[in-house]
Symmetry: C2
Subunit: 239 residues, 2 copies
DNA sequence: TGATCGGGTTGATCTCAATCAAGGACAACA
DNA sequence: TGTTGTCCTTGATTGAGATCAACCCGATCA
């Protein structure tokens, strides 16, 4: 299946001033290696809604997110959907060792990625323990996040789910230097619902309730946490 | 916190005929390396119910499961519990890169493990890309399993959850050469409930329903799949 | 022999979130 | 300017699974 690259694929020559540099896998590389890796990669751009890759397809490429947000999701045959995560700048998609994509990924808003052929990336990483360790670290962090999300899905109320999601999103944004008073939520209500194991109506009602209770304030451009301690308590599962 | 080692910790000298060899990280090592790794490890044994390590504790050791089953779980402050997985022979616990244990682990029945100091294991792995790649592969597989479990927790009915769990358990057992007509379920109903985001009553009722419908048959020693296609259909989310 | 206990099952009832249904806000566009 | 479509919100009702409660069964042990 042809992936829908809308932008031009251009060889990346600008790794040294890439904004995602500090938190992506590239953080493990020195200048020379960086230049070498750039030779193997190309920058690709996807417009909002475009599918970067689809579940179960043979994974011939790996990606490092450069800018934008992606939703990563799995579908059941009857089209029930579970969003297993949102990818942000610095996230790596397409771990070596798994021949097929485990989930589908599509762009929420415009997204740019560094694309590598899995094969050449594997050759490049082959004898670079530093890079391999970095990948283990990223995979471990992702795994920890997945396990935390299992607790949310299996054992928490709608209100706790929303609060947890907001706190987690805030932390991820601040982790990539995008923290701020007003927190952008690029994904739609339906995406949030499919991420938290809720329906869109319950998500909407719960946002309304949190707003009524003075915990958050919603804007077209995002959400502000008014009562952070309360949100954090809900998120931690206290009360 | 002192971990409760009930058995004697003995240096492992028998890696070459270890039963978990084929699917554990050691599969990536040659004879010499195996002997070298054995020098760094010791065999530890835990009796049923014993805690191998606890969530949030500093992780000074890594483990490779040699025999038995463990439940891996996270607790909320009010003692709600989510079992994030069950560990079987060959599973690796305590990835490098994460300073603390992300979950607690305790023995279901008697368990034996190879224990490594994280530090010495890291040194050993340092310049063995083969081993590092193997760990990425295992981490990736674990991540894929976690994501599959998110679909289960977020988007499936009780009956589908139980069927999925049984099919998944069967596949894992057969993956380590423990497949068979009657499938042992070492964990209790409460463990299954806390794994699937259900209550013990719903688990019990659903087992009864599946038995009434001729899909499974339960014994003290385990479960037999009578109508495998039906169970697989439920597990896949068809109907 | 009976008491106790842990684990499991089953029934009655309740509740939280799903479902069904309607309408509002806003942008794109003819 | 009205029309259409997307996204979101809110209300009414339903239902799957939680909760509450009772009981069963086999093991252990006095």
């Amino acid at each position: 299946m042809k992936i829908s690259v809308l932008g031009e694929g251009t060889r990346c020559r600008l790794c040294h001033d890439c904004t995602a540099r500090g938190f992506a896998i590239c953080a493990a590389l020195d200048k020379t290696e960086l230049r070498e890796l750039a030779q193997l990669s190309r920058h690709v751009r996807f417009e909002s809604g475009a599918t970067v890759f689809a579940q179960a397809n043979i994974a011939t490429s790996s990606f490092s997110v450069h800018a934008g947000t992606l939703r990563l999701y799995k579908l059941l045959p009857d089209s029930r959907r579970q969003i297993v995560g949102f990818a942000l700048p610095g996230d790596f998609l397409g771990l070596p060792g798994l021949p097929r994509h485990e989930f589908s990924a599509d762009a929420i808003g415009r997204v740019t990625l560094c694309q590598f052929s899995k094969e050449s990336f594997a050759t490049f990483a082959e004898n670079r323990p530093q890079l391999l360790r970095r990948m283990i670290e990223l995979a471990g962090r992702e795994l920890a996040r997945a396990q935390e999300h299992m607790v949310l899905l299996g054992r928490r109320s709608a209100e706790e789910k929303i609060a947890s999601f907001l706190i987690g999103w805030r932390d991820r944004l601040s982790g990539i230097g995008r923290g701020g008073e007003i927190m952008p939520l690029p994904m739609k209500r339906l995406d949030i619902a499919d991420h938290l194991g809720l329906t869109i109506e319950t998500v909407s009602r719960t946002f309304s309730k949190l707003e009524r209770d003075g915990v958050i304030q919603t804007f077209a451009s995002g959400v502000v946490l008014l009562d952070t301690p309360r949100a954090e308590a809900l998120s931690a599962g206290i009360s």
